[in-house]
């Protein structure tokens, strides 16, 4: 973990200084905001993925594979669709963002609690449900996007493609507050995380209120996914990648080790990846592609290994 921390520090330093042109007092705040956003996104994705996998007792499904961020995009589209982009411009983006996150918590909470808090379901069934839900949310979104006029579409479109380069920094303050709130909720539940790894029945027998814990974690996940989707757009396999690397690297089941390692890894991937790919090698939007590719490979490996057992 020391090594990871060091690497992260180096990456952050590189991010702030490498290839800077122009006045430092312009570059530093500008990049500082971007760095903060990336760190926030990394934190949100890492924590939400690990906790989601803990309460659902699996290591393959992640919030994004289950369609969480597609749901968020759908909500965003619905809001633009019903309110109209002309009036949207007048609304404070932070207010809009807050409303969207609240909606997301409500919907995701209901939907996924229904899926996960009840009887034990097979992993493959859940995976299928997730894929179907994801496709459903995405096609509903694109259906609505087709109905709205091109100007409104342009407002939306920029938000739907994962880009770690074009972070929406106006939302940073509100996003940080929400992530903080979600983290506090997670902190209150922290003692039950390790026990939840034993599955619903064992956790219940050891005295954990499983329903309450699952509901709490799903709220945390919904907030964090909303934040990361709002800031950089949907990313499918990144969470899976860092969570599984963190399980391997930390070599223990304890969340007090796994969570920090996952967060550090996520920051390292985003910030370090950005530095190497875009500053050193000079590719422009390559990072999200590389990350999704590696994450996708990890997903396939896990699936194949899982089905052979």
């Amino acid at each position: 973990m020391m090594v990871l921390g060091l690497l992260v520090a180096v990456a952050a330093l590189g991010f702030m200084t490498l290839g800077a042109r122009g006045a430092w007092d312009y570059v530093l705040p500008f990049r500082g905001v971007k760095l903060a956003a990336l760190v926030l996104v990394a934190f949100a994705i890492a924590v939400s993925t690990v906790l989601f996998q803990t309460v659902t007792d699996n290591r393959i499904l992640t919030p994004s594979i289950m369609g969480f961020d597609a749901l968020y995009v759908l909500l965003q589209t619905t809001v633009v669709f019903t309110v109209g982009s002309a009036r949207m411009v007048g609304i404070d983006p932070r207010l809009r963002f807050t409303v969207e996150v609240l909606l997301m918590v409500g919907f995701a909470g209901l939907l996924f609690r229904w899926l996960f808090a009840g009887a034990r379901r097979s992993l493959h069934l859940l995976l299928l449900v997730g894929i179907v839900l994801g496709v459903l949310f995405r096609s509903l979104s694109s259906f609505m996007q087709r109905l709205i006029d091109p100007n409104e579409f342009a407002v939306l479109q920029e938000r739907f493609f994962a880009s770690f380069n074009a972070v929406d920094s106006r939302l940073l303050g509100a996003a940080a507050v929400m992530v903080l709130g979600a983290s506090l909720l997670a902190w209150r539940l922290r003692r039950s995380f390790d026990v939840l790894l034993l599955g619903r029945d064992n956790a219940t027998m050891l005295g954990v209120d499983h329903r309450r814990a699952v509901t709490g974690v799903l709220v945390v996940v919904a907030v964090m996914v909303s934040v990361s989707t709002a800031l950089v757009g949907p990313v499918t396999f990144f969470g899976l990648l860092v969570a599984n690397l963190a399980y391997q690297l930390s070599g223990t089941h304890r969340h007090r080790a796994v969570l920090p390692v996952a967060v550090l890894l996520a920051v390292l991937c985003l910030v370090g990846g950005q530095v190497v790919l875009e500053r050193v090698l000079g590719y422009d939007t390559a990072l999200s592609v590389v990350i999704e590719f590696l994450g996708g490979l990890m997903f396939l490996t896990l699936l194949l290994r899982g089905s052979r057992r």
Partner: protein, 252 residues
């Protein structure tokens, strides 16, 4: 005392528990016997609040298991399920330490560690304590889960087929251990057993189920009779007394 009143549970059209009434006084070993699918596991799951009854109630020392706080019950009642599968990769000691969670809430004290080591010793797991569960044989894994349950240090211990996968030596050791828990620590042990001879040998009280109904209940002498066993298992068994123990043999 565990008291089951009017317990009823259905899966679709299939009635798995049909108005079960049962009173298990404190202390002693109770064996639950019956053919596959008789509803033994379902009854145990309902007693340990893992399943909700459609009708009826279960109380433990007067506490209704469906309404009492989970952490309160977890300090009174521990359960071994029939199937135990984990996604997480844990060592034997990690698993057994989880048994202390109801008491320590994740911050194991020196006293908790003493309990963990004792459970490991009781189940002959000291040499395996740092092995991962997925690197063990079925019987070794079974013992690890039993160690976790005993580590919970509760007055009531429910075990669903704890002898699964165990060799003869460890099966005998397990039954002696349960006997000791009842005799020396005053625990109330309820155990699902397949071998009626083991049940007759180690239990104080035998409960026989068939098709979701308790068909017989009594001391081993009362249950180990040809006509009773026929009613429970649909088999003609002859009961002999060998070295003072009742043994049922099936007619070849």
């Amino acid at each position: 005392m565990i008291e089951v009143t009017g317990a009823t549970k259905s899966y679709g059209d299939l009635r798995v528990l049909d108005d079960v009434h049962l009173r298990l006084p404190r202390g002693g070993v109770t064996a639950l016997i019956g053919a596959n699918g008789a509803g033994k596991s379902t009854l145990l799951s309902c007693m340990s609040r893992l399943l909700h009854l459609d009708a009826g109630a279960v109380t433990v020392d007067g506490l209704d298991v469906s309404t009492t706080r989970g952490d309160v019950l977890a300090r009174r009642l521990a359960t071994l399920r029939q199937d135990n599968h984990l996604t997480a990769r844990l060592t034997v000691r990690d698993l057994v330490t989880f048994g202390r969670y109801p008491h320590s809430k994740g911050r194991a004290t020196a006293d908790d560690l003493v309990h963990v080591e004792r459970s490991l010793r009781f189940l002959d797991l000291e040499d395996l304590a740092d092995r991962f569960l997925d690197e063990l044989s079925g019987g070794q894994r079974q013992r690890a889960f039993v160690a976790m349950v005993l580590c919970q240090d509760t007055d009531y211990v429910l075990l669903d087929e704890p002898l699964n996968n165990l060799d003869l030596k460890h099966a005998v050791a397990m039954m002696r251990l349960l006997r000791r828990a009842a005799d020396e620590l005053g625990a109330t042990v309820v155990v699902v057993l397949h071998d009626i001879n083991v049940a007759a040998c180690y239990a104080d009280h035998v409960v026989a189920m068939r098709d979701g109904v308790v068909v017989h209940e009594g001391s081993p002498e009362q249950v180990m009779q040809t006509h009773v066993l026929r009613e429970v298992f649909d088999l003609d068994l002859r009961v002999h007394r060998i070295d003072g123990r009742l043994v049922a043999l099936h007619v070849a």
